[in-house]
Amino acid sequence: MKTTTKERLEKFTTVSNMPVKRLYTPSDIKDQDYLKDIGLPGQYPFVRGAHPAMYRERLWTMRQFAGYGTAEDTNQRFKYLLEEGQTGLSVAFDIPTLMGYDSDHPRSKGEVGRCGVAIDTMADMEILFKDIPLDKVTTSMTINAPAAILFAMYIAVAEKEGVDTDKIGGTIQNDILKEYIAQKEWIFPPGPSIRIITDIFKYCAENVPGWNTISISGYHIREAGASAVQELAFTLANGIAYVEAGIEAGLDVDIFAPRLSFFFNSHMDFFEEIAKLRAARRIWARVMKERFRARDPISMRLRFHTQTAGCSLTARQPENNIVRVAIQALAAVIGGTQSLHTNSMDEVLALPTEKAVTIALRTQQVIAYESGITDTIDPFAGSYFVEALTNKMEEETYKYFEKIDELGGMVAAIEKGFPQKEIIESAYSYQKAVERGERIIVGVNKYAEEEELPIKTLKIDYEVEKRQVARLKEIKKERNKRVVTSVLNRLQNAAEGRDNLMPYILNAVRAYATCGEICNVLRKVFGEYREPVVY
């Protein structure tokens, strides 16, 4: 029989440049031991899923990342999404909030409420969650450098509404290492930043047991241009750094590890993404068991949120993005995600309109209720190709771990610019491949159209900034200045010493100290991060 048929391309690779063979057979996974390397869902090494019954027990949480304008605007969008069948909330903060600047700070000009909601004080947080039962809904907050402050505001709002802190659930992103690597919204240098993070681990273990204290994020690393393997390796290496920090802070690994959670990107290459997510679970299980000697299987179980790849969306022919998102969402679900955000087709142009975000949510609902994919667990297990790719992902990740260990761990690697440099190399070579036509992007470098009608995008009123600054002024006038000064002084003393900062930050937010004021106290004590620029 003829086997040398001429193929369409000289070589076939995944979107991350991983070679793909024409055919996979049992010989590609001949060394695999089913029980040891794959096993059952909900059991070590968790390749097949974090939970024993997965989506047969409960579907993933449909959690659309949302936030714009003032707290009133976003509160309305939250309520709309809940009415439309969304099952969890996810807050997008504006950039001044992410950077720890109040809305009236000169650096905030033009940025207030533009790509997230502006939150200056606990008063804004009260409005943000108005009429939303905090004991019934879980909330994810994408906040990093000032995570402790926004989290404290959430706790304080729950208290004020009479909800016990052991009844609230959700996640703070709180992952500063990936900020240094990719998203780049930082405030303090690594040392004090990690201290705040371990303070949160400790505080939550004692007071807010249902909270995911960190969401160790590959999403932004991938968006910055990393390959699938780089996303996996750098994210899990950050995870290792946090576990080391927790242990160094005197915590038992099995006390805080169960509350660590992860966040991955789901990109365009369908099988590669499924393999990546399966590999993530196995690598983490092995790391926790072998490297950190965790005893509780829950410490070894990797749970994650997924968001479809913003960077894969195109400004040209934006409706095509609906299809891209559907494929990516499918990979995330088959990969066993615990929660999912599907991007809206227009996010490449602006924050999404209600119409676009509804289509994105409906995409998840179609997968959940119409496709049949949720009826059986990890359906690609045993596929020669997917298992081989899962193994390959794991091998390549260990190579990066070795390199990072050689550099002295992830914090040292970041300070040397190592992951940053690897990522920009990948980003550049991908861009070049697109421009040479080696990677086809439909509607961009193939099937492009000369004339395109612009689609309707969301407009954020320029009055938002004025309204927010006015409210801040009002709050500052009404609050008890003496109390504010005193809680901030106590916070400063605590920061200079070794106390857990969470109780001090909680007292500050309860007194309506602003996010910027609290950050300024900490800036004074901790200093600010300076980036090593590599490109």
């Binding site: 950077m99 033009g110 790509c115 998203q183 142009l349 920009i424 980003a427 421009e435 995008t457």
Partner: protein, 134 residues
């Protein structure tokens, strides 16, 4: 006064507070590979910092990359400061998450071109070479 130059000098700047620097870095490198002299400002720059850098580095063009939605405040501010400093011959272009309607208004204030996601580096190189040919 006409300055004789062999190579185009470009300042790639990240104004505002957003940290998305993938695009800026790719453009910086592509322009450099195309033989231009490129200065990259790094992140979190104010309009004042950018204009001072442009003045000190004596650039022919400034590329502003922004993905935070603050372009309608920041871009006009950069243009205003350039005017104040008498740097009217510096070409300004931009890129990022910028809706069509805003592109039209930004062009009116003198931003020569805005590139949105999907634009190729080649397109940007050709645009600069063509616009700066003297």
């Amino acid at each position: 006064m006409t300055r004789k130059r062999k190579r185009i000098r470009v300042l790639i700047a990240k104004p505002g507070l957003d940290g998305h620097d993938r695009g800026a870095k790719i453009i910086a490198r592509a322009l450099r590979d195309a033989g231009m002299e490129v200065i990259y400002t790094g992140l979190h720059q104010t309009p004042e910092m950018i204009v001072i850098a442009a003045l000190q580095e004596d650039v022919n063009a400034i590329g502003l990359s922004i993905l935070s939605g603050a372009h309608n405040y920041i871009f006009p501010r950069v243009m205003e400061l350039l005017k104040e400093k008498g740097m009217k011959d510096v070409l300004v272009f931009g890129g990022g998450i910028i809706p069509q309607d805003d592109i039209l208004s930004l062009k009116k204030i003198g931003i020569k071109k805005i590139f949105t996601p999907g634009a190729s580096t080649d397109e940007i190189i050709k645009f600069l070479e063509k616009s700066l040919k003297k």
